[in-house]
């Protein structure tokens, strides 16, 4: 038994246990932490396979960016609104385990019975070393053979940014929940601030779902009430 096998066993066991943790933990934060552990072990497996660039990127991109965003979202959402742990009906839970086991068995059969290709490609370990290492080899292939796909991946990222801004930003047209009126201002009596939907819904959806909720009005008086001039009235 070689040292490699021992390392492999340790990393993959940790990875799978953490993966099970992601599925099993009640608390989404705990799941996220388990996922971090799983991804670090995935990165270790990448390094074992001679893909150290991907290993590091896996950590930087997934654990450093994507999962931090997930944690961010979990923290921004009111935790009391997060659902209780509940895995469907027991039947569904059981069925999913059975389906998973069957699928795993199928993949296992596929793995055992598959035949590895005999001819070998250009990027053997010696060749990669000669190119300067894993990073250089990936760079050469990615920016020559896959240049077009590289550009399109950048477009996907652009679309992602546009989408996150379009959907994630709070809607500027929504009225604030509390409208502060001043009695000394004509706006106080204007129908601009009337409650309720501002336009009629073109769909058969209840209006209260269609427009954002309009909060109660708070009347803030900075001076003695008698000191205000009401529109259309002479001052008292």
């Amino acid at each position: 038994m070689s040292w490699e096998l021992v390392f492999f066993a340790v990393f993959s066991a940790a990875m799978l246990l953490c993966g099970l943790g992601v599925v099993a933990f009640e608390n989404p934060v705990h799941s996220a932490v388990a996922l971090v552990g799983s991804f670090i072990n995935v990165a270790a497996l990448f390094v074992m396979l001679g893909a150290e660039f991907l290993g590091v990127l896996q950590i930087i991109v997934y654990t450093g960016a994507v999962l931090v965003l997930v944690l961010f979202t979990i923290m921004l959402i009111d935790p009391t609104k997060l659902p209780e742990f509940y895995v469907g009906a027991p039947l569904q839970r059981f069925a999913s385990v059975v389906v998973g086991a069957i699928l795993l068995a199928e993949i296992g059969v596929a793995i055992i019975t598959r035949t590895a290709l005999e001819q070998i490609g250009p990027h053997t370990e010696a060749m990669v070393q000669q190119m300067g290492g894993n990073v250089q080899a990936i760079g050469q292939v990615m920016l020559s053979e896959y240049a077009l796909a590289f550009e399109i991946a950048s477009l996907v990222l652009t679309v992602g940014v546009v989408g996150a801004v379009v959907i994630g930003l709070p809607n500027r047209m929504v009225e604030p929940n509390t409208v502060t009126m001043s009695l000394g201002h004509t706006r106080g009596s204007s129908d601009m601030l009337a409650a309720g939907p501002k336009f009629e819904s073109p769909m058969n959806i209840p209006a209260e779902r269609y427009t954002a909720p309009v909060g109660e009005r708070t009347v803030v008086m900075t001076k003695d009430p008698d000191a205000y001039t009401h529109p259309g009235e002479t001052s008292k």
Binding site: F8, L16, S31, F46, L49, I111, H123, V141, G160, G163
Partner: protein
């Protein structure tokens, strides 16, 4: 016993199936999202293992693209979750039934 590609393929298949079971059983959208990311990572192990076996670097490049795409998608998905939570709704699959007839 030596370490072969099949070892890595088995492990990645197991991780893939665990992620899939998570998607099928959990209700919290964020956890489902994390499980899908786990499936993508499992695919990464498969790709890199094949890349190692066939001595072509294309598999690693493939996973690099998958990584970029997954990052972009996660931004979109989390933005939708945030927008939903802003409407005072929990990210719960079972609760998403206003659309059912």
């Amino acid at each position: 016993m030596d370490l072969t590609t099949n070892h890595f393929l088995f492990v990645s298949a197991a991780l893939f199936v665990i992620g899939m079971m998570g998607v099928l059983t959990r209700r919290n959208i964020l956890i489902i999202f994390m499980c899908v990311e786990m499936m993508v990572a499992a695919v990464g192990i498969t790709l890199v293992a094949f890349s190692h076996e066939t001595a072509t670097i294309n598999g690693q490049v493939f996973f690099l693209f998958a990584l970029a795409v997954a990052a972009a998608e996660s931004a979109v998905g989390l933005a939708i979750v945030v927008a939903l939570s802003r409407q005072g709704r929990a990210p719960d699959v079972e609760e998403m039934q206003t659309l059912k007839n």
